[in-house]
Symmetry: D2
Subunit: 255 residues, 4 copies
């Protein structure tokens, strides 16, 4: 097999470099969040950008021990206590469009809206109205808005505040705010949730839409490791059995 | 990278062969269970061996929709409905020493006992007593015995009956029966469960101990796919939230 | 948490039943392939249906030890030899639209075509032409046709032969054949591959489209277990390191 | 099912708190690395502790794009481009005793040595010699020492330097240094590698041995997301096929 090409790790001369920077140098002068930013953008963040990415990662680390990702990790370690990595991986497998996935979807909406503004010369309000109308017509949900518990998500204000203070807020934050208005007009008021907020600020820091999914995985893995550690420390193997109620066909005989 | 060596799939001349047999030929004259046997033993089973392996696989396919493997798969698909393979994989990740894992452990005990009989000339009863004593001294559990629900597991009698009728029962079945006696004498009566029974008959068909784990994965994947299919067909995304009760430190302020 | 409802496993009275049938009864009179069929259709297959499903499962068990699913499983066990289930699960995670995924896609095309015939009264040739035209317009690939190695896939003839002999071939086989003609007319001749063939016969046995993905996972897990067993038996831990060539930014200093 | 107990996330009154601290407060005043520390120790780190944990996480983020974890993630996304979480999870599944796993093992050695010093009044050199002798007798490897590429790992000096400067270095660093001496005397000189170094400093910050595995998963997930992003952006689906060489049984006919 031919060598695979990569632009991430450079190990050519006894040094290990990430995106060109020596790892030992990154280990002293920089933080883990800087490394995450660097790995995905090939540049180091400003102080304001680092603080904002830190806030995003903490915001998604763990938001309820009974969420699918956390419960999946706990169930896995309950049956397979020999493999910590299997349990953490199982937790990540519950992350998708319906759980932790709206960030990616909302970043795609933002990209679509910003493109409409440029290519068709639409105002931001018109672009937002267009995106909402198109989504409704296609019966797509509008990812990043609404929440099953909160009427407003306090994490949204934190992220937008940091983005404003740091001079980072731009098209992303403006367009998500415009979408919120357009949704209120066309459907009903739905608050910007954590996924919508992180989509906005990640867009404004220059991340590609896929990073909306990656950032959730990176943040959540911190919470999953704590959930697994707690299950190992406090609970017995196989303590979890989900109660089920059978409602299928009646007992029958093989002919 | 150099080519990896393999003795499984031969694709050298436009044919695809498994362990030397043409796949199209296997597809007509043989069953999937034959293929499983062939992949792990490099020979095809007798009629009696096939029937016995079929019974083992059906016996472990699904034994309760609320078991960790099944519940894990359902939770994963609940949050990530776009990836069927992720949900099935998550279910397998819950399989380990504590869930579906006793087959491997019991096959190791059988190998240990059979070896004692040969190298030290012990009778089967003495070898079993020795294995039980050593396990107790090392505070190891005796995998393959006891069950949280059944006082006797009906699947055990089925497997042993098929092994006797088919002329397959040998050292494995004999040693597991001897272990049951030795455990009853030294500790308390514990029935041979499905893991102990499948370990015995798999040993007698010539499988290596690791197959005790593999066979559970192969059989269980059938049940997991059905669990995932049912979750997709009958339930809404994110319908599962496990209720949790917080008992950690009280609310506190950042200094 | 309320009990989860299920129509699969019934454990209400000390018995364990799958879709209404006692597991011990299934273990004697029936095969593992019967159990797979039963779990997904809630009925047992005829002899011809069982033979056809056996052929499908053997056909996808392992078609090359270097395919992504197999290589993924081997890499995982190479770094994490303590967890067999983790390695097999890793192999399944490589299964998606691009690898093992065309069965599901092709079953959806069949369902679409059959529906066009009924709702719009189209002939089978016209329905096939319409499906091909729509796919081309939407720039969707036509799953189930073409192969990177074979000009014709020998497994296709086997499956169609069994379906004809067993009196199972119906709309599915007819429509996939019609699609092959329509593709040859509109684009270029592309052979029906294993995914197209299994989609046709699974449709004709009454399976839902999702089973096109499930059947690949069930069959492939057999191959994955053999790949992992071979890696454990013949190779050293960490023996695999994929060679990479760095082509990213030049070494640079932190400011 | 009864509610599961947890000491991690508190969502009782409309707030979300991690280990007692409001998430929005953590998002402004603190970093993601603080959150990781908090989740596992239920206290926030000092400035020196934070810098040290940042260094550990960056040190393990990605150390070669061809390592099993990275290659596994790339193979998975190559076949299954629809599921980002599946690919990242597959990468984690390659992490075990042989890849990324020595941290946990070395933290257990440290705990063992520190306990010997206390319970048997041994000097640190004698405790280290004892641990080395016991490991050699049991034919266990000594995790945390030696490296396939480097004669000395530059990351070790960085971590020990930060630990000294920050006043954190204690029993852990001292005992790992004593182990290095004892290994050089009893076997041959083997440098302290990244796993041995992170084990030492994590011990000195009060983490339990399991965190030696968790920290690798948390750091590595950053690298895995970048590897997956690059594969998606630069490569075609299914571009990876590992070359294999068949050396099994010759072609044979079914009887």
């Amino acid at each position: 097999m031919d060598a695979w090409r990569t632009s991430i790790v450079d190990a050519r001369d006894g040094h290990i470099r990430l995106r060109g920077y020596d790892v030992p140098a990154l280990m002293t002068g920089r933080t883990f969040t800087d490394t995450i930013f660097l790995l995905h953008q090939s540049r180091l963040p400003s102080t304001a950008e680092r603080a904002l990415l830190d806030a995003v990662l903490t915001g998604v680390a763990d938001h309820g021990s009974g969420a699918p990702s956390c419960a999946t990790a706990r169930l896995a370690i309950s049956g397979n206590r020999q493999s910590i990595s299997a349990a953490v991986a199982a937790g990540l497998l519950a992350v998708g469009d319906d759980h932790g996935g709206a960030g990616l979807g909302c970043m795609e909406l933002i990209a679509e809206g910003v493109s409409l503004m440029k290519t068709e010369g639409l105002s931001i309000a018109d672009a937002a109205a267009r995106v909402v109308a198109q989504s409704r017509q296609a019966k797509r949900r509008l990812p990043g808005f609404g929440h099953r518990v909160h009427s407003t998500d306090p994490r949204t204000a934190i992220l937008f505040g940091l983005a404003e203070q740091g001079g980072i807020a731009g098209d992303g934050v403006a367009f998500v705010n415009a979408l919120e208005q357009a949704i209120a007009s066309a459907v009903k008021p739905l608050p910007i949730n954590i996924d919508g907020a992180l989509a906005a600020v990640l867009h404004d820091m220059g991340f590609a839409p896929e990073f909306g999914r990656f950032v959730f995985l990176i943040g959540r893995v911190a919470g999953l490791t704590a959930e697994v550690a707690e299950e190992l420390a406090r609970e017995k193997p196989m303590r979890i059995r989900v109660p089920v109620e059978y409602d299928g066909v009646a007992p029958r005989d093989l002919e």
